[in-house]
Subunit: 455 residues, 2 copies
Amino acid sequence: MKQKRFFLQEDQIPKQWYNIQADMPVKPAPMLDPQTLKPVTVESLSRIFCEECSRQELNFTDRWIDIPEKVREMYTYYRSTPLVRAYGLEEALGTPAHIYFKNESVSPVGSHKLNSALAQAWYCKQEGITNVTTETGAGQWGTALAYSAKLFGLEAAVYQVKVSYEQKPYRRSMMQVFGAQVTPSPSMSTRAGKDILTKNPFHQGSLGTAISEAVELARETPERCKYTLGSTMSHVSLHQTIIGLEAEKQFEMAGEYPDEVIACFGGGSNFSGVAFPFMRHVFSGEKKTRFFAAEPASCPKITRGILSYDYGDEAGYTPLIPMYTLGHQFQPANIHAGGLRYHGAGAVVTQLAKDGYMEGMDINQIEAFDAAVLFAKSEGIIPAPESSHAIAATIRRAMACKESGEEKVLLFNLTGHGLMDMSAYDQYLRGNLINYSISDEEIKKSEEILAEMPK
Amino acid sequence: MKQKRFFLQEDQIPKQWYNIQADMPVKPAPMLDPQTLKPVTVESLSRIFCEECSRQELNFTDRWIDIPEKVREMYTYYRSTPLVRAYGLEEALGTPAHIYFKNESVSPVGSHKLNSALAQAWYCKQEGITNVTTETGAGQWGTALAYSAKLFGLEAAVYQVKVSYEQKPYRRSMMQVFGAQVTPSPSMSTRAGKDILTKNPFHQGSLGTAISEAVELARETPERCKYTLGSTMSHVSLHQTIIGLEAEKQFEMAGEYPDEVIACFGGGSNFSGVAFPFMRHVFSGEKKTRFFAAEPASCPKITRGILSYDYGDEAGYTPLIPMYTLGHQFQPANIHAGGLRYHGAGAVVTQLAKDGYMEGMDINQIEAFDAAVLFAKSEGIIPAPESSHAIAATIRRAMACKESGEEKVLLFNLTGHGLMDMSAYDQYLRGNLINYSISDEEIKKSEEILAEMPK
């Protein structure tokens, strides 16, 4: 019988994360302090983030970073995640491609987000922090942080994008079961929230807005409260490389190697996590793997974003980041893939896209759900709307193989399950979903606003 | 670092199920045909069930039954499920007990029910059946059957207990994603449903009622449609023994052996699955393992049920089964653990309880949710309300160890996750849950009704 799933023994789980910043042929432009417009330092970053994450953020020299033993212990609660050969999907498509997925949905909180939440909560605890704040879109990151905080005895306050708060009440419940405070964003509890609601009382929220609120809350008591972020930043990508590092070992067990690696793309954390360990062999010239970022057509940074310094949040509290961005005040359409509704790509991913190491693919909402339902029926797993973008992109690549007859090895990252998103599936089944593509007018408006940002 | 999770390689997954009926010291009394009151035959059973399941139901001789290769292939989509050492829970309790759980929640549909659904759908397909019907309470079994039917190209019609249909809309969506027709029960689409609704238009539904509806639908076109059942029957228990057989091998890897095995109890399928493989070593005298069935206090068959012949369904379409039962017309309280709202225990489990091989433990709703939240915080997994009864029972046993200082090895079966049950958690967190214990009056009424059943 053909082997379906590949696991590592617990002692084979990688003991270090891979820091791509040490290996990049061209380093990204520096992030800038929003007040001084000078490059950020560990000191300035650690006004918001914990110190160890701030150090990791600016580490351009150490290729490998040790995973703390306590974090490794908590990784064993769900890692290694399986590398799965998608025989069912291959059969449904009639493709000669070998499709594999890394199943991060098996994590206790249902997504890959836990890989970084555990690390960030642990570092905060070590540094004497008692409270953590964060934003969450679909709720995947917020749930991961809520659980991690509880585990290490921290209090967690989560600002959840309002549209997701309303679309996904079960996610809110999950965070509350883990003991977190959850507030829909924009809220009246912060200046950033108030300002936004004053301008637009019906603001549906965005990740950029929720970040502003969470950062503001953390800055009120910086000595005991830190902000944590679930994507975009290099230290988050670093923690996520456990995904690709495991996959690399698991492909050895399978006797294969991926020709193409595909991930959905919001701020870039899961993309980075699955791609970077394989990308290092492209840097070294050993391999020719291609990398695809599957973006929502309503919020496409890689294919249609503008290369510019931009804030990570709506209110402009974060450092200026060199980004492919749609502008920090861009309000993405209310697609169900809330985790992909972010305006910009992180600095490292932006540089890699600029240098041609990765490609964007735009996926519309209905194509994503078509792919999701086909995947559910053929592999049994109901995927998150975010992950469904990666599945749709993989199906496109697999159908290209069918046309060309190529037996390529494709790997995609199944970031999470969609069990909290069944109301979105209901709408899909009833034919009530609509597509949203970004318009030329929206891009033009973004260009105008971004023209005023520092160069 | 201490090992947390134990997996089997795919070639180590058991190739046969364990048929306890071949080994029981005292065989159960025969099921009776409801018309003739004579023992059922393969022929009479297969008017409702597929032939192979009917044969398995009455097989008292073969200890081992081969798992069909296609079913084994589909098992590899999620099996082996991990045997997990609950270090987090042990620490939270401060118990010297070693607590293990078999995590069946990792199955694609979120519960152990798939173990039998795959087998039943496969046998139906082999026998030329095109349609399957079933009932479901919480929706775990219905989802498993919906997925399995889709996989093998069968049409599935599921009657879902009305109160669960309303409490758990996401489960209904899952079944629909997998292509099943879902009808809340009682419905007006069957005579059984109409009769019940005529008597009581506000009937909330029960598993017994939903079974009547599903059986009636199957009997209309027996040549192409079969009824499938998710619990109670011996062939279902047989398919579920994959759980305990895997666990036995995994305990070898862990270098331990369970002193006590604990499972929640609705009709008995998950209890049987995890317990029977270990019970065979008690029959043989090699081991002294104790077995606990964790029942809801509102529907306690093992501790308070009456030993009697009874129907498996409300309308009396099924064979008469020798059961510990509360009566086939008993309407259990609307607890959130919908899967445990069944009036009787299967024939085999009944005999084993009578002969002292297993013990019942009654758990009230709030104790179950207390246990669930503690488990979620310490192990990261939000359990199904059904499984939470097993966790609560395990906690009782672990606290007994704390008192006595005994370092016992406890195993419980985590049948499913609770991600479809977050509204129940919401109610718990708001303090809105209430306990329901069966009353002496209810028991007395059951006794009176059952006094009229054949002996």
